[in-house]
Symmetry: C2
Subunit: 187 residues, 2 copies
Amino acid sequence: MRVSTDRRTLLADAAIGVLADAGMRGLTHRAVDRAAQLPPGTTSAYYRTRQALLTALVRRLVALDQAELQEIGARTPPLRSAGEVVRGLVAFTAARLTGDGRRRSLARYACAVESARHPELREILVPRENLARQALCDFLAAQGVADPEERTVTLLTCVDGLVFDRLVNGGSVAEEELRGLVTAALR
Amino acid sequence: MRVSTDRRTLLADAAIGVLADAGMRGLTHRAVDRAAQLPPGTTSAYYRTRQALLTALVRRLVALDQAELQEIGARTPPLRSAGEVVRGLVAFTAARLTGDGRRRSLARYACAVESARHPELREILVPRENLARQALCDFLAAQGVADPEERTVTLLTCVDGLVFDRLVNGGSVAEEELRGLVTAALR
DNA sequence: ACGGTACTTCTACAGGTGTAGAAGTACCGG
DNA sequence: CCGGTACTTCTACACCTGTAGAAGTACCGT
């Protein structure tokens, strides 16, 4: 049994694109075939049920996000000032709102909505530890914040809210807005 | 031409329920018929295209939200302290996370995601003036905040982010979190 | 009472969708 | 060279969906 993990990943990536471009309703086996430029029936062969396809999509999405966040965290020196944190968040939000990051964000929020009804998806989507998050948490702890973990969660959830809004209504997340949130986290 | 606006509203309400319970993929003419307990074909007769159904759904959703916010604003005396604002937001978020408010929230976020791809929906969903929002904005202005409108938008967007998170992952929005956001808005 | 109008219900149908399994192809060990 | 295994592609089909229009029903003014 030599599993061609490449094909499966390719299809999962294509599925993310389809979800971003056509929504949950447009996410079908055949649409993924077309997006991946593979013969019709391919997606159905690798992910026989739609549920399997969606699960693979979500797993891939989380893997991509996690890889990105690990990378950001890895190349970020320990955060020393609120200004540095704000700059980091500006870059982060911008990446989620443009180009490929935007499509992934669209897919992510669509999955998040879906996961409210599907515990098995929620389990995969649940926020995980990663170096970027850790860097932020460490910063809050170093600044003497009492509950750095909780504050990190709240801060990132609010940032997510801003990203979601801009994703839908356009525009970008302003430095000013992020400064406010970071200040609140430090309060 | 005597239009039975009742039937249309009834169907739009049923559609909101279907969307909340079954997602965008489950939102079909026949599913709305069933949810409304009306003979099959009814929804299709009143909203011939799916697009028409979705548009009516979104309009109804906005009307319900707007009515709720006007009512909240109308019975709220002018806000005098951050504590009052926080209490108001606690009640507001709780209402969006339980019972019927929860279902409406699920539908709203699903529509928001959809509207990222559909300008005509976005136009209907765009945040509107209402008495509750006005009360918050007035409070910020009275506290000497420079850009009360912008701060109001940012604050409510962050609150929306918190609600979205709890909607998916469970739990409620803590007073502590809201206090942080309000403090940030006043900063 | 009755004809007409507007509303309601039913039926049809051309696609699309999920899923299964058959047919085809490539490639490795011998 | 060849048989077999695993991967790939094709085909089938039952069901669902969007949409149209016909048939049926209620109710109003006259």
